[in-house]
């Protein structure tokens, strides 16, 4: 329990540090949204118009950096992430709230499926070392070294077209209104197939490789020989002795990859113009939209921290050696 509280304290501190960095970094980037608007209007804005834009965006210079920092925290506690510049006047929290489910559903489900498939195949390949499953390895190594987005571009090039089943962009048919009905859900599924497959193909191989290698390492442990000598069934030895122990490093890898669900596949979303967080972040970056950027970074940071905490907890549950007595 004490260990657990220590971890919580550690994560709170990390969260504070991350949020503080999150506040400062966008302000260190040269330029501001008004500058980019001015550039957009090619100097046709009068000084008064520029000034009123600054006031409108809340960028009037009256406040010091410290005051802005305090205000930022006060806003955070109210759950108010400010107004977006790009999607003015929508609040950032609403934009993130709209985009988050797309990312979480697409990447979350694919990450889980990929982990399950990859780990099972890895167990098989590691246990039946020297059989046909070894043929999987060069293929998986190849795919694990291919970046997601490149695979996505290839998939769009090869599989989409005017009369293809796969749409090349978007999260749903643009003629539909998002709703939980029989028109929208199939359309959303259809649009998610290609990005999901892209992520699946390039991430599953990593799980296969790491699980297979751990299985091979664990298979040579003495307790595996003992388990065989005890006359346990092959299945029991493979699952309860070998795979159970080989799984430990993969579990923490999995928890970490859950943290990267939100931020890890920006490029896939951009390639497929998928209406998730990554796509929004690209727009926010282009428009120097601090509040939106900060909001998205905040969500990414928190999800990575939560995933780390989950990894700690999972390890505590699965490996008795990490539990401290008392």
């Amino acid at each position: 329990m004490k260990y657990f509280l220590q971890r919580i304290a550690f994560y709170l501190f990390t969260a504070w540090a991350a949020i503080t960095l999150n506040f400062f970094i966008p302000r260190l980037v040269p330029g501001d949204p008004v500058q980019s608007l001015i550039a957009k209007f090619r100097g046709q804005l009068s000084t008064e118009a520029i000034n009123s834009l600054y006031v409108l965006f809340g960028l009037d210079d009256d406040k010091g950096l410290w005051q802005q920092y305090l205000d930022y925290w006060a806003q955070l506690f109210r759950g108010d992430l400010g107004l977006s510049f790009t999607f003015f006047p929508s609040p950032v929290s609403q934009i993130i709230g709209d985009a988050l489910p797309w990312t979480v559903l697409l990447v979350g489900i694919t990450t889980i499926i990929s982990f399950l498939i990859g780990t099972s195949l890895g167990v098989l390949a590691g246990w039946r070392r020297g059989s046909w499953t070894d043929g999987l390895l060069p293929v998986t190594t190849f795919f694990s070294s291919v970046p997601y987005f490149w695979l996505g571009i290839i998939a769009i090039y090869l599989l989409t077209g005017p009369d293809s089943f796969f749409p090349s962009s978007g999260g749903f048919d643009s003629s539909l209104v998002p709703a939980w009905d029989q028109y929208f859900i199939p359309s959303a599924l259809q649009h998610s197939l290609l990005p999901a497959l892209t992520i699946l193909i390039s991430s599953v191989s990593g799980w296969i490789l790491s699980m297979r290698n751990m299985m091979v390492t664990v298979s040579s442990e003495d307790y595996i020989t003992v388990a065989h000598a005890k006359g346990l069934s092959e299945r029991r030895v493979a699952v309860s002795y070998a795979a159970r122990n080989a799984l430990l490093p993969n579990i923490s890898g999995f928890a970490l990859s859950l943290g990267f669900i939100v931020g890890g596949t920006l490029l896939v979303e951009i390639v497929f113009s998928y209406p998730g967080l990554g796509f929004i972040l690209l727009q926010a970056l282009g428009a120097k939209d601090y509040p939106l950027m900060q909001g998205i970074f905040l969500v990414i940071t928190i999800s990575v921290l939560v995933a780390n905490l989950l990894a700690d907890l999972a390890y505590l549950l699965l490996d008795p050696r990490t539990r401290k007595e008392g």
């Binding site: 040579s220 003495d222 307790y223 005890k230 309860s240 159970r244 122990n245 430990l248 008795p320 050696r321």
Partner: protein, 334 residues
């Protein structure tokens, strides 16, 4: 005495084809009911390979290339372990022949409780047993090896090395096998713990009546704890005799070398001498008797001809066998 396990002409190789290394060569050995048979030799002499071979636990690339391992069950016909189907082999393992392995530290799975690891043997071999009686049996075994049954829920890392090896011994006896193979069971433990555990094992053997094959490089332990000793060199058995006979008057120069490499606790002082040279390379074995390049007494026949294990021409020759040209054998045993 009735035999319980007979090894006949067992050959084990590592690898295939021309590059194969013959680790066990034409080994003949009989284990009798209720006896402790010691198996001694330097590292690489093939003693562990022999143990893994006769239980068919060899990891690839180890292959059994010939021979028979005849097991005599308490009831029923004797059968060849090497000819068992996978299913029959699984049933044979642990129920008839249990093993206590070298690595006391790594023989238990670190993520499962002791209780799980004790009871899963019962689950596999006696599926009709109720969970309650499985647990009762596991507790009984812990008590038998001197561990408090309330450590059932402990994980291996919470036990000391000695306790872990006791748990392994308890686990080996849980199905009351006829044969227990001990592969350097106490190598990782300190001497005090070694003696404690072995003493306890001998006591248990007297109570439960199983036979033991005790593998070690520590001949002094064998002299004390075993009935008969077989000495291996270069994959062959070079001498086999009752423990006291080996200790008092070993015939093979290699056995003598092993015996003079540790000090006796009692009796007159004697010079300690090692065996010069190093164990043979199993891939490039010397011709003839594989010990001849290191043997102080080597003479003409040693280099060209392999001596056969047989009864020596000594007065007590009937109870022992040796493979050495110094003691030409009348008839090969096997």
């Amino acid at each position: 005495m009735e035999p319980v396990l007979e090894i006949r002409n067992l050959n084990v190789e590592y690898g295939l084809g021309d590059k194969a290394v013959r680790a066990v060569r034409d080994v003949n050995l009989t284990l009798h009911k209720g006896e402790v048979l010691g198996l001694a030799g330097e590292s690489g002499s093939g003693k562990s390979t022999l143990a893994y071979g006769l239980t068919r636990l060899l990891a690839p690339p180890g292959v059994i290339t010939g021979g028979e391992v005849i097991y005599h069950p308490e009831q029923g016909e004797a059968y060849d372990v090497l000819g068992l189907s996978d299913r029959a082999l699984r049933a044979f393992r642990w129920a008839e022949t249990a093993i206590v392995f070298q690595g006391a530290m790594n023989s238990l799975n670190p993520v499962h409780k002791i209780s799980t690891q004790l009871t899963d043997v019962l689950k596999a071999h006696e599926p009709k047993m109720s969970e309650h009686s499985r647990n009762a049996r596991a507790r009984e075994m812990l008590k038998l090896v001197g561990i408090s049954p309330d450590r059932m829920d402990a994980y291996p890392h919470q036990l000391s090395g000695g306790m872990r090896q006791r748990v392994m011994i308890g686990m080996a006896l849980i199905l009351q096998p006829q044969v227990v193979i001990m592969d350097e069971p106490t190598t990782a433990l300190d001497v005090v713990m070694q003696r404690q555990i072995l003493g306890q094992l001998i006591e248990l053997r007297e109570r439960l009546g199983f036979s033991v094959i005790f593998i070690t490089h520590d001949l002094s332990l064998l002299v004390e704890f075993s009935n008969r000793i077989a000495i291996m060199y270069g994959g062959r058995i070079v001498e086999e005799a009752p423990a006291a006979t080996i200790y008092r008057d070993a015939l093979h120069p290699y056995s003598k070398g092993l015996l003079s490499s540790f000090p006796a606790l009692r009796g007159p002082r004697r010079e300690l001498a090692g065996i010069p040279g190093s164990p043979p390379d199993l891939a490039g074995m010397p011709s003839g008797c594989s010990f001849h390049p290191r043997c102080p007494k080597a003479f003409e026949p040693c280099a060209p001809h392999i001596p056969v294990l047989g009864r020596p021409d000594t007065p007590d020759g009937a109870a022992r066998s040796v493979a050495c040209w110094l003691h030409p054998t009348e008839q090969p045993v096997g």
